[in-house]
């Protein structure tokens, strides 16, 4: 990484830290405003009034809200998000168990979204102005208009039930157990040299990741096509054609490189949305990630877990955007000079 990029990266991280703080304030305040009493979930149904009040004091809920926040934030800064009300386990442990599954899902979904988005964008550009344009427009609009959870249900019915060729629950088949090393199954299976389990884990990722990817890919397709059309009339494109390069070479080596940057910026935003999409998709596929944990926490009014997971989501989004910004800086020298 060049010094320029490093400097920009440090500046971006500097900006991100106050953002994380603001998000944590927002998450904390919003959750305190909702009409739910976390103590109600923590006590047995036949608890006495005295027991309830004692627990309320023990949980720090009798303190002023700003004091509650500082206590929580100071601990959260050290990755201590408190103890789950429903699971009676440290929240950081619960997040640590679920996070690798979600990251794995999001990464695979991002790979699919990128492949489909870029390939689709190139295809849409190639057929623009021809007979295929209307069909490609219709297809991308159709894919875009179907939400992730509907894709999830459709894929289960098609590939899981009707064709019965792909699994749609959990991360592994019932008969396979893999020891946890990193929590990333694709990595753990390879470390342990279990190629069959690796394929099995991958097969379990296919449907949920495709469900997520199809929510993101159409936008990438459209932006890439628009960018390609914009650069299509640039002088350097004409020069390339005059030099006798094939249309494919002109497209891939000249047009694509220049049209890719706007798409890359959009990818940052869209991949952040992938995290949000995991909430429903993980529940539908019984996938044990942060989304499932969050849904269960909301159902149980488990405020410590909700706060912890929300903060992790926020940090993940910031990190993705930071990563995309850095990638754009590395790919586009003009941005470095501008900085």
């Amino acid at each position: 990484m060049s010094g320029g990029v490093l400097g920009v990266a440090l500046r971006r991280i500097g900006v991100s830290l106050p953002l994380v703080f603001l998000v944590s304030v927002l998450v904390f305040v919003v959750l305190r405003l909702i009409p739910a009493d976390p103590v109600a979930m923590s006590v047995p149904p036949n608890a006495t009034r005295a027991e309830i009040e004692a627990l309320r004091a023990e949980m720090g809920l009798t303190l002023p809200i700003h004091e509650q926040f500082w206590i929580w934030f100071a601990k959260a800064a050290g990755a201590d998000f408190g103890k789950s009300i429903a699971f009676a386990q440290p929240v950081s442990r619960l997040i640590g168990q679920a996070l690798p599954a979600t990251i794995e899902l999001v990464v695979v979904a991002a790979v699919f979204a990128t492949i489909i988005g870029l390939a689709g964008g190139l295809l849409m550009y190639r057929v623009a102005g021809g007979r295929g344009e209307a069909a490609s427009d219709l297809a991308s609009t159709l894919i875009m208009s179907i939400p992730e959870f509907l894709w999830a249900i459709f894929f289960i019915l098609l590939f899981g039930v009707a064709l019965n060729i792909l699994p749609f629950t959990g991360r592994l088949d019932a008969g396979i157990t893999v020891g946890r090393i990193t929590g990333f199954l694709l990595v753990d299976t390879l470390i342990q040299g279990r190629f069959g389990a690796f394929l099995n884990a991958l097969s379990h990722l296919l449907l949920p990741s495709m469900s997520l990817a199809l929510g993101t890919a159409p936008l990438l397709m459209r932006v890439l096509r628009s960018s390609l059309m914009e650069v299509g009339n640039e002088d350097y494109m004409m020069m390339a054609r005059l030099r006798g390069f094939s249309e494919r070479r002109v497209l891939v080596h000249h047009a694509f490189k220049n049209a890719f940057l706007p798409t890359l910026n959009l990818m940052g935003v869209q991949f952040s949305f992938l995290f949000g999409g995991t909430l429903l998709v993980e529940v539908i596929y019984s996938y044990p990630g942060l989304g499932s944990l969050m849904v269960q926490a909301v159902a149980n009014t488990d405020l410590p877990v909700i706060q912890g997971v929300a903060l992790v989501y926020a940090v993940a989004v910031l990190l993705i955007n930071l990563g995309v910004d850095l990638a754009a800086l590395m790919l586009n020298p003009k941005l470095r000079i501008a900085k």
């Binding site: 009409p35 739910a36 009493d37 109600a40 979930m41 047995p44 149904p45 036949n46 608890a47 009034r49 309830i52 429903a86 699971f87 009676a88 386990q89 440290p90 619960l94 168990q97 679920a98 249900i153 289960i156 019915l157 899981g160 039930v161 019965n164 060729i165 792909l166 699994p167 749609f168 629950t169 959990g170 991360r171 088949d173 019932a174 008969g175 157990t177 069959g196 394929l199 099995n200 991958l202 097969s203 296919l206 993980e282 529940v283 539908i284 596929y285 019984s286 996938y287 044990p288 990630g289 499932s292 944990l293 849904v295 269960q296 159902a299 149980n300 009014t301």
Partner: protein
Amino acid sequence: MSKRNNGITRRSFVATTAAGATALALPGNVLAQAKDSLVMAWPIDPPTFDPIIRTNPGIQSIYKMIFDQPVTQQPDLKVIPAVVKAWKVSEDGKTIDLEFRDDVLWHDGKKLTAEDFRYTYFERREKGHKSDLASVFRNLTDIKVESPTKCQMILSQAMPTVIQWMTFLANYIVPKHYVEEVGPEKFAEKPIGSGPYKLVSYERNSRIVLEAFDKYWGPKPTIKKITILIMKDPSARVAAIQSGQADWVPEVPIREVERLGKVAGLTAEILPITRVIMLQIRSDRAFADQNVRLAAHHAIDKAALSRALYGGKAVPLSVVATPGTPGFVEGFNFPYDPKKAQELLAKAGFSPSKPLQIGMASFNGVFPGDYDIARAIAQMWKRIGIEAKIDVIEQPKYFELNRGNQLPEATLYSWDNATGDPEMFAGYLLHPKLPFSAWKDEKIGGEIMKLFAVVNYDERIKGYKEVNVKAASEGAVMPLLQSVMTFVYKKGLKTVNYANGWNLPQYWSWS
């Protein structure tokens, strides 16, 4: 980089991708399970494997696979010995002598003794371990261990249902040596029990893998390996059984049960269980007038609710007890009578042209059809002149509102009682001091409170039957339906149906 540099041509790439896709499609997920294993889809993930922490009915069967209760029940709910092979309750109901089997082993091979029982029921509470079990046995003052197989429980007040409670929620014995060695948190993650199955692995929100314990004191399970897939979404459970990815799935929507029952290779069942769906009623505000309460009750067509939402399988109820349980009153019927409902409401000064406004709370998605029932009842009430505004609440909110006496006039509620004992039906639901009861009037409540101290079984049951009739006749509660549990499973699986909805694969087999 040129294409030839890495030796990958377009043709070889396509061929490799196709082969990979085929390989991915092949793993054994869609193959039938072996005859000594079973894949179950479960709608709830246990929040903890420390079984004494929470009184959550939906996970009791999982706990019963791993742990032992002191005593247990037959499929018809009769209490039978288990780890405790004999018991004697004193006449005043304050001391209970227990005798334990001497051949019960924990999954690590150590013996289960009366010390473990004392630790579970008494010492953990004294050490400050918070649990629902401690709350249930708050009147327990000591457990005197006389020998490894004998002990005596001492209560400050009579607890007539102490033995029934030992078959109920959160009543499991945990290993003293192991909990003390690893601590309660670690135990809750990686427990050992003395039940028919050992916990092999657990992935939160995904699956639980159990293996038969070959030194189990009771009948050895013929199904040696159980995989429980946590599948909260009903449509995912339906897809799982249809695709063969699960062998047994519960809590399937009624319409799907009827459809799947016709699919070759599958068996579908709808089983009424000891779960009551009812409207809990306030004794004040708009429902202070008995005429209004009875009018509201007469206006509900329970048979129509059953037909519309449960395929007619849910039995309409007139008392808060299910048929076959001790507190059920044969022959007593609270009829659907919209004409009488209008007359009673008119006495209170209300009619369709001058409607009574009330509030109604309902869950949405906590038990099958809950919100639909609430909406249907609101429609039925509207016809006679009661306009109900429905508020959807969550379970923690219900307890919060009830503790603060802030529930609306009517609350749609579902109540599980695996014991079948009337104390855990009418007793808890109408006891004005308990947070399960919206009814705070001391007249019926006073009778209930007295019954909590009646040790004689026959006298107690007679008392509850009388209270059940009185509660319905005076509009203190509106029992609606006996709820059903639905299952779909592969043909060849022999299950055992418990009247309380327990699903215990330790007693199942493949034919």
